[in-house]
Amino acid sequence: MILQTPILALLFASALAGLVALWAGWFSFRVLRHWDVASGSRQQLTLERSTQLVSTLFGFVMLIEIATLFLFVFNADRMAALFVGAMCAVGTLNVNPYGFPALYLKIAVFFAAALWLILDRLDRAGYDYPLTRLKYAAILGIAPLVLASAATELAYFANLKTDVITSCCSKLYTPANEGLVADMTGLAPANALWLLANAGGAVLLSGISVLWLGRGERLLAFFGAGLFFAALTAIVSVISLYVYDHPNHHCPFCLLKREYGYFGYALYLPLFAGTVWALGAGLVRSIPCGDSLAAVVPEAVRRLTVLSLTAFLLFGVAVFWAVARSHLILLG
């Protein structure tokens, strides 16, 4: 086990999140069993009062989980210096079998947390607790995810041994391997960019449809998710090549290093944000909202759509910039 400040901070944050998730989960059971807005009983009033606390605390924890995703990745990159064969976060995460699962779980929690916060905000805007039941049912789904993420992270950090030789990203991100990652890596640059452009176009069109026609939020969410995967594929197969000025360096994590100007963050932050907001727009439209939210929902959806499109646009600008300033010539 490596006792380092960032690791201690991450473990503490996870432990806190896990505890709150457990407590919120237990409270959710109570809500789902006894909640009845129409009754004015004392139990109901106590529940209503307590939901304010639980929502605040859970919301706080969700914010922490979002922040620690970035801390986790940043730290993994930094720690590469401690491991033989590691040059970037990939090496650090590969030291034991828990590294990548911990990362994927954190990403899943990130999305769940952001969507829950959107739901919570909407619920507070209604005068009759319109989404409270749904919100707490969602907590029952998110809490296990948070706990799993915390456990995996603990297992990962507890099993970090520096005398293990780990593999470099060039071994992982090469077309010669088997599996999904290899397929992504091996995709021809032109195809990857074409895929990305199409996904981006679909998102743009559905976004415009939402803003002008007031319809198409679910399409936006769907295409947003599609764009997310298309973007990740494009990053691995072609965009990273432009950033590194190297025809064979496909690693999506080395982008986060200082020597590349931390460019990875300019790509990933808007991409993740844009995806979350697109999904949020679709979610808000899909859930049954009562009368109390009738006025609020259209405005909320609009806002989420605008945010999403802006974020994806920023992502597009970053991609364009990476390709334009690169010395590498891959196409034509």
Binding site: I2, L3, Q4, T5, P6, I7, L8, A9, L10, F12, A13, L16, R49, Q52, L53, T56, L57, F60, I64, A67, T68, L71, F74, N75, R78, A81, L82, F83, V84, R124, T162
Partner: protein
């Protein structure tokens, strides 16, 4: 959006005024909190700075060092091997190094004598360049004072000073004595053609692994040490020490969090009344919670800034006087050097999480409890 910002600003204004009204209590809390941050931050900053120093210093080191082993122990290596190593593709330079330890019975210290690889640094016959600890520990009080080393009773080997090594590099050079090759061989009674070890420079860092393999086949009995391995060892050592300190400080942080929770729960009658009034004039529970979170936030940020700035000064202006011995380790000679000031975004965020998070988490429940009191109580 502006409405939200304005609301936050108004709440923050009220909070500042409220904090000022209970100056003594809040100042006490802030100072204790800042102390906790100070401890954790000092450990972190110091350790990062030393690791950074090690990194900088090692950057100049050769990529590969080859030592001969006899019966498992380090022995002198033959100069003929230099020719063989030069032939490996990718090797940009091979040089035999001469260095050795000397135990000084006068003060119980170990010095390192070395012939510099850089020819411009080699002193003249009979002269030496001293590391900055030498004059201090041997009482060489004036610039021209010579150093006498005694290898055995009755022996006196004289070295005239040709200069001193700057304290900027004191981390590695405090106990160093640089002399010429002839003096070195005469001091240690070494024949020509043998060296302590061989330094190999490699152009492309990606090829180090391959070259190490080839050298290993060439010299199966030799020990091959790469620069990366040395770097990793130092990083690990100081990280581990830092970690221990932080864990101990972590206990402080948690104790402080409990203390903060207690404080937050025990609202004075005055504060309870104030909250009741605020709710009666139109603030809802959410507003009161927001205001209390601002209170906690302002104190946290104040304590974090104060603690971190003091830690920064402590480590970089006062050389971490309080913790240095724990973190540097045991030695007779402590290098007297100034660490290069540096701030690391990762460490700062980690510090922030470790200190602000426990406090905020501990106070949320008491805050909520205070904020949900019914306003009509205030009228009785």
């Amino acid at each position: 959006m502006t409405g939200w910002l304005r609301r936050q600003r108004a709440l923050a204004d009220y909070t500042l005024a409220a904090l000022a009204r209970r100056r003594v209590k809040n100042a006490g809390l802030l100072l204790i909190y800042a102390l906790v941050v100070f401890i954790v931050a000092s450990a972190t900053l110091f350790s990062s700075a030393i690791r950074k120093e090690a990194e900088i210093v090692l950057a100049e080191a050769p990529e590969l060092i080859i030592q001969d082993l006899v019966m498992g122990r380090h022995a002198m290596i033959s100069g003929e091997l230099v020719e063989e190593l030069v032939g490996i593709r990718g090797v940009s330079g091979v040089k035999g190094r001469l260095w050795g330890y000397f135990y000084d019975r006068v003060n119980g210290a170990n010095y390192t004598l070395m012939v510099p690889l850089d020819e411009t640094l080699v002193p003249a016959r009979g002269e030496a360049i001293f590391g900055e600890a030498l004059p201090r520990t041997r009482g060489l009080n004036w610039d021209k004072a010579p150093l006498f080393l005694s290898r055995f009773p009755g022996d006196l080997f004289r070295l005239n000073p040709a200069g001193r090594l700057e304290s900027d590099s004191a981390l590695v050079s405090a106990d160093l004595i640089l002399i010429g090759e002839e003096d070195f061989r005469s001091f240690f009674e070494l024949p020509e053609g043998v060296y302590t070890d061989i330094a190999v420079s490699i152009r492309n860092s990606r090829e180090i692994g391959t070259i190490v393999e080839k050298a290993g086949r060439l010299l199966p009995h030799a020990r091959l040490i790469t620069r990366d391995e040395i770097s990793r060892t130092y990083q690990k050592l100081f990280s581990w020490r830092e970690g221990i300190m932080v864990v101990l400080a972590g206990a402080c942080v948690l104790a402080f969090a409990v203390f903060a929770a207690e404080k937050a729960s025990g609202l004075s009658a005055e504060e309870t009344r104030e909250i009741g009034i605020l709710k009666a004039i139109g603030w809802d529970t959410g507003d009161v919670i927001a205001m209390k979170l601002w209170e906690g936030g302002l104190i946290s940020i104040g304590a974090f800034l104060l603690g971190t700035v003091l830690a920064y000064l402590h480590v970089f202006a006062f050389d971490a006087a309080l913790f240095a011995s724990v973190l540097k380790g045991w030695s007779v000679i402590y290098p007297d050097f100034a660490l290069t000031p540096m701030i690391d975004g990762l460490q700062l965020s980690a510090l922030f999480f470790l200190t602000v998070l426990p406090y905020t988490a501990a106070t949320i429940v008491p805050i909520w409890r205070a904020a949900t009191a019914d306003p009509d109580q205030v009228m009785r």
